[in-house]
């Protein structure tokens, strides 16, 4: 049973992890993205995430359903609002029968979330404010 959300409150990593557990699944892989201080020589102090929430939830649901159809439990929750260093921005969890699948599907999900789900990062760096990170600066 998938669970996806755009969350305005801090992510409860343990509660999300607990939702993944099931007797038919022996391998659980989670990816958690946290706010990182340094990207090369750019120092980040905080972030704002915004989303096109209704469409983002639809996109996350499509992804979760696609992976669950292969035999898995899937959880994807992305934070919006203001985040400080080490705060959790995203939780992606996959429980599958075997670990190889869980790793592969979890990485596929976060890669795809970053490419096509309408969520945006406004990054407060010590030199300036950036939409997107230093490696994908938008005009």
């Amino acid at each position: 049973m998938h669970y996806v959300a755009i969350a305005a409150q801090p992510l409860d990593v343990n509660a999300l992890y607990e939702k993944l557990k099931a007797p038919q699944f022996g391998g659980i892989v989670t990816f958690i993205g946290t706010v990182r201080q340094w990207t090369d020589d750019v120092e980040t102090t905080s972030l704002d995430y915004t989303a096109y929430t209704e469409m983002a939830v639809k996109e996350l649901t499509k992804l979760a359903v696609e992976v669950e159809a292969k035999g898995a439990n899937v959880i994807i929750v992305h934070r919006v609002g203001h985040l400080e260093l080490t705060d959790e921005a995203v939780f992606v969890g996959v429980a599958a029968a075997h670990r190889g699948e869980a790793f592969k599907w979890c990485e596929y999900l976060i890669d795809t979330v970053k490419k096509q789900v309408p969520i945006w990062k406004k990054e407060y760096d010590t030199d300036k404010i950036r939409w997107g990170g230093p490696n994908d600066v938008q005009r």
Binding site: Y52, A89, V90, P118, W131, R139
Partner: protein, 81 residues
Amino acid sequence: MFNVKLFAILAEQIGRSEVELSIATPITAATVKAALQAQFPQTAAVLADCLVAINQTFVSEEHFAPDEVSEIALIPPVSGG
């Protein structure tokens, strides 16, 4: 006239999260972008990298009649994760 949702850098540039635009029909990603650019020329550079979502689905070459369209959004390059 259509309400078009704006997000992120695009919303910041225009100072609003929604604008009302006159869009040429049939409606496509190209006509939506052209309509915003006509009214807000300063968005041209950002618009070049934007996608368009109609009814909360990304569209590119598809053509929509006005009555098929319930929601239009301009989607700057995403940066979640």
